[in-house]
Amino acid sequence: MTTTPASDTPPPAAAPRFPPLVTLASYFGIGALCAVGLGISGMTRPEKVVNFLDVTGNWDPSLMCVMGGAIAIHLALYKWILKRDSPLMASVFQIPQQRTITGRLVGGAALFGLGWGLSGFCPGPGVVGTGGLGSSAIVFVIAMLVGMQTLHMLDPATPSES
């Protein structure tokens, strides 16, 4: 297995095993599959997310099933995938290697949770919602992009990958 830390350097060129068009189309397909999963699971409905977080109200544990299902399959496939020397359409695996718990990590996650609990939107369902032209999803995503851009301007060294 070859890994490199996720960094701000542009990714290496894709291995020429697949035509560039197939490689690019696969990203679209992966995004669409993720959207279908988010929609079927109910996570594109903000009320369902808030009803999970609002544990003292009409509690809806569905989000646990979503996370459980997603982690179960990714956990099962992850180790098997990383036994390969390289991904099918790229030259290296780009897995985050950071280990340190920082104030930035905790503070950022705390702010994210506040926004998530207030609106019931996190980034994925927000983006999916814009496809349905939902006004709240559009407002949310625009504001989220403004927030990201603001941080990038205040701190140009903000890493781009998770």
């Binding site: 992966i30 929609g39 977080l53 997603a70 949770g113 998530w116 609990g117 019931g120 403004v146 603001t150």
Partner: protein, 143 residues
């Protein structure tokens, strides 16, 4: 508990996990949506198309839902525009500071037992519960 949808939510979760696994198998990347969005804003040469295509797939999924099953996109929460915008700002700043959201830290990070992701998930779940409690129980959803 009347809205609990264990089967649909587990199936949806499996598809999300499958999508993250395909991202890793095909491209060696973590399917972290906030990171993919954030990187787009930096507009580095050769690093834009794949992000746009992935996000385009997400948007296309939403478009299909709107046509086929619009109730999947119902927003019954009815937050004010100002609240939604404030929440979006918090999510944008917060996910870039912590380098991940529910997908990158939640699904991908927890699956590989990343201590950073575990701390992030516990933290955003915690403040999410607090924000939901304040907005629903103290303010009665009127914000």
């Amino acid at each position: 508990m009347d809205q609990f949808t264990p089967i649909a939510s587990t199936i949806g979760g499996l598809l999300i996990g499958l999508s993250a696994s395909l991202m890793l198998l095909l491209h060696g990347r973590i399917a972290g949506i906030s990171g993919i969005l954030g990187g787009l804003l930096k507009r580095r040469a050769g690093d834009v198309a794949w992000r746009l295509l992935f996000l385009g797939g997400l948007v296309a999924g939403g478009l299909v839902f709107a046509l086929v099953s619009p109730d999947l996109l119902t927003d019954d929460l009815q937050r004010s525009t100002a609240t939604t915008a404030g929440a979006g700002l918090l999510v944008g700043i917060g996910t870039r500071l912590s380098q991940g959201c529910t997908s990158g830290h939640g699904v991908c990070g927890l699956s590989r037992f990343s201590p950073r992701s575990a701390v992030a998930v516990v933290t955003f779940m915690g403040t999410g519960v607090v924000a939901a409690y304040i907005s629903q129980r103290i303010l009665g959803g009127a914000l």
